[in-house]
């Protein structure tokens, strides 16, 4: 094996330009694949985390009916193991109107009514409130999303008019602004006290749902079925509530991996072309090696080793380069990249699974594309190889 490695290295370093092209193609494929997967995972993660920070992990509701004994039901749910908090809410669509210095703004909003004392646990408001208060100072307070505040030009202390579907309206004072990182919430959601919401909706003392936050959001399915059994309510997990979005993310990722694999195939093809060139140029040398006793399997191994060495060098450099790029993306703000994604920094997440998948896929493709030229080299007839000009 030492001799075969020695000859393989001599061939590679004797053909610096071709070898460089082959290594470069593997580096490019590896970097594109690793960085894309890490950004995709980071964006997915960031989106899911943003969703989970505001959205109920499990929503318990009574079909189209309201829940009248919501305080008792919420208390019952809160006692279930794995549940962090259970908050009665009243949800409804509505219209928000604001007469500011820049003009009159009217926009559709999603209204969420929560108990005066439960604001911080229901929507994690204590963590995501960026200005003002995370709790309601008065019944006439409202907490709105940062993007919505920017869109209408409202600030802390601004008075906005909220109109319910039953055509009731109330003037509320903006007491807090939150930033969840999830554009849909930040631009459309407003949070107000439950009693205020009940008044504006003329619903009486009822809730439309119990929003449940879990210690581990990924146990939502299991706990949802326990809640359903204990309370007789219908339940929906955050996965079910966002099925279309999560399905789209998963589909997008699958398609992306397939497209990136094509780049890997191209790099495998480049390695095959380079090896084929080396085999052609080295035909007479192969004849000499065979004349001096190298068997077919040794010749095959020499060229397989050449492909593998080129692949490994490309993979190592590609991985290091990918890590450097990911480090820069993670630690430095690049507005031209992040602006489009409603982010301050591009989130990156290189999972061990993605890393192993990229490495194995690259390696397998290189080996597959190396087999043919190596096999061709091993099958050369000695006498014909020696005659090769």
């Amino acid at each position: 094996m030492k001799l075969l490695l020695f000859i393989a290295f001599k061939h590679i370093f004797g053909r610096k330009r071709q070898s460089f092209i082959a290594i470069l193609s593997v580096i490019i494929a590896c970097v594109v694949m690793t960085v894309s997967l890490a950004i995709s995972s980071g964006l997915d993660d960031s989106m899911i985390n943003s969703m989970l920070s505001m959205m109920p992990h499990v929503k318990a509701y009574n079909g189209v009916m309201a829940i009248d004994n919501y305080t008792q039901v919420a208390r019952k749910i809160a006692q279930i193991s794995g549940v962090k908090s259970a908050t009665p809410t009243y949800e409804s669509q509505g219209i928000l109107q604001y007469q500011g210095l820049q003009g009159n703004f009217v926009t559709g909003v999603m209204m969420e009514g929560i108990p005066m004392s439960g604001s911080s646990t229901a929507f994690n408001l204590s963590n995501i409130t960026v200005s003002g208060s995370a709790t309601f100072p008065t019944m006439g307070s409202v907490i709105i999303g940062k993007q919505l505040a920017q869109n209408i030009g409202a600030q802390i202390g601004s008075v906005v008019k909220v109109i319910s579907p039953s055509d009731q309206s109330l003037y509320l004072t903006v007491s807090g602004v939150f930033y969840s990182g999830y554009f849909d919430y930040d631009s459309r959601a407003i949070i107000l006290p439950l009693q205020t919401m009940q008044i504006i909706s003329q619903s009486g003392d009822v809730a439309t749902a119990i929003n449940v936050q879990l210690i581990n959001p990924y146990e939502a399915s299991k706990i949802a079925s326990i809640i359903a059994k204990k309370t007789g309510l219908l339940t929906q997990t955050w996965g079910q509530l966002n099925y279309n979005l999560l399905y789209a993310l998963s589909l997008e990722r699958t398609v992306m991996i397939l497209v990136m694999s094509l780049i890997l195939l191209v790099s495998g093809f480049v390695v095959a072309v380079v090896l084929n060139t080396i085999v052609k140029e080295k035909t007479r040398d192969i004849g000499i090696l065979r004349a001096y006793g190298f068997d077919q399997s040794k010749v095959l191994k020499i060229f397989m080793l050449e492909g593998i060495i080129l692949g490994i060098i490309g993979l190592i450099i590609g991985t290091l380069l990918s890590l450097a790029i990911l480090f820069i993306l993670k630690h430095y703000s690049l507005p031209f990249l992040t602006k489009a994604y409603y982010l301050v920094k591009l989130p990156v997440k290189l999972t061990f699974k993605d890393f192993i998948m990229t490495t194995i896929e690259t390696f397998v493709i290189i080996i597959v594309f190396t087999i043919l030229p190596a096999y061709k080299a091993s099958k050369l007839k000695v006498v014909e190889a020696l005659k090769h000009e």
Partner: protein, 228 residues
């Protein structure tokens, strides 16, 4: 003296049917231990084909080839490879050195293959050969930096490194000028005689043929022997 190699009624041709061309017909040949022989003949007469058969680089259609008492046709591919590595040394017309390797690496390559490492004995023998071919100072040179005559001297040393029973040389000086050829003839002749190795050389050179013990001529697909 025992025959080191023996061909019995060997036939070799190419093509089929009407296109069939017979190269060697019922050819008998033998070479003794330490014998230095030459084959001369016109181009296309089958000299190189015969050398390829003797070097186990090519097969033949019928007959027998006995090498050190073993019938070559009965050997497995693995054994044939081992024979080529350990029992035969080749010197080709165009040196056929591996250009990425140095002079020393080219010479020890067959020994490396034989033992899986370069043994102390191989290293010492390589040094001895390097001294004999007068290239000790250039042992770490890339072969592409050598002259034609120097390259051929390296090829001769490579052929000798495993102390093979048989050296086969195909026009070893066919590509060199007269003066260099004469030097190579002398070196080749001295080396193989000193080491008592059996040599068969295919050549057009009358000077090289004159240095050998036995000369053969290929005429009408057969060998005729001219004892000195």
């Amino acid at each position: 003296m025992n025959n080191i190699i023996e061909l019995q009624r060997v036939c070799k041709g190419y093509g089929k049917g009407k296109n069939r061309v017979e190269i060697l017909q019922s050819l008998d040949f033998s070479l003794k231990q330490g014998e230095f022989a030459a084959i001369i003949g016109k181009s296309g007469s089958g000299k190189t084909t015969l050398l390829n058969i003797l070097g186990i680089l090519d097969g033949f259609d019928s007959g027998k080839y006995i090498f050190k008492g073993r019938e070559i046709q009965t050997l497995s591919e693995k054994e044939k490879n081992r024979f080529r590595n350990q029992e035969i040394g080749f010197v080709f017309q165009f040196h056929y050195l591996l250009k990425e390797l140095t002079v020393y690496e080219n010479i020890v390559m067959p020994a490396f293959l034989k033992e899986g490492k370069i043994s102390k004995e191989a290293r010492e023998y390589a040094s001895e050969l390097l001294t004999e071919i007068e290239l000790m100072e250039r042992k770490d040179y890339k072969v592409e930096n050598l002259s034609g005559g120097e390259k051929q001297r390296v090829a001769i040393a490579r052929a000798l490194i495993n102390r093979p029973a048989l050296i086969l040389a195909d026009e070893p000086t066919g590509n060199l000028d007269v003066e260099t050829s004469e030097k190579i003839h002398a070196l080749f002749s001295n080396l193989v005689r000193k080491k008592n190795q059996s040599v068969l050389v295919v050549t057009h050179s009358v000077e090289l043929a004159a240095l050998t013990d036995t000369q053969y001529k290929v005429v009408n697909n057969k060998l005729t022997k001219n004892q000195k």
